[in-house]
């Protein structure tokens, strides 16, 4: 690195935000979000309510899929471990 690059490293060294930054971020994170919808968006909001119902159905479907995957995983691993145990127990006899 030459002198200019060294100077750039120094000039661009990290700067800190003003004091109290952490508190401001935490306060913003805790602030509840309120959305005021203009009247023309009411129809869109109504459509969203309908979609939310569809969303619930989708969530239920995904839940069933996840449950089925868990049971399948348990069957596969259980079957393999059972085989190992059976063989080891048989060898010990």
């Amino acid at each position: 690195m030459d002198w200019l690059e060294e100077e750039l490293k120094s000039a661009l060294s990290r700067k800190e935000p003003a004091g109290g930054f952490d508190e401001r971020v935490l306060a913003a994170a805790r602030r509840p979000k309120t959305v005021m919808l203009p009247r023309r968006w009411m129809a869109a909001a109504a459509a969203l309510v309908v979609l939310a119902g569809a969303g619930q159905a989708y969530r239920w479907h995904r839940g069933q899929e996840a449950r089925d995957q868990v049971m399948l995983a348990m069957r596969i691993t259980g079957k393999k471990l059972s085989y190992v145990q059976t063989r080891i127990a048989g060898d010990r006899q």
Binding site: D2, W3, L8, S10, A11, L12, E16, P17, A18
Partner: protein
Amino acid sequence: MVFSVAYHFLHDRELAEEIAQDVFLSLHRNLGALESAAHAAHWLRKVAVQRSIDAARRRSRRPQVALDDVAEPGERPAPGDPLLGELLRKLIATLPEGQRMAMVLRYQEDLDPSEIAAVMGIPLGTVKSHIQRSLALLREKLARRGVGER
């Protein structure tokens, strides 16, 4: 790191803090998706870069200081002089945004060109070109002001 990337890129402390706050709130919402501390650092850097560039584009006015308008310092600062640091920061702020961000990531974050390419989502060759051109431009501007290697 986040505030600093935004600050050096935008040269605007208030805007940099807004961006940093926004990035950390996004992090808070996306914590579950992060896989490791290293992934989080990479994510923070990438989002800080994106938001900073977006903020620069939204600014309707031109860069705060045009390159040729950066006044020559009253006294010519020597290498190691804090005045030189301030001059360099002002000169960096006038670079086109791609070059500017590449320089911030190279000299503030100490990333190598391939890492910069990954964060900015641009080709490696473009990153190298950005850095070379920026350094050449800075050398020229500094030389005109009588600042250079002794």
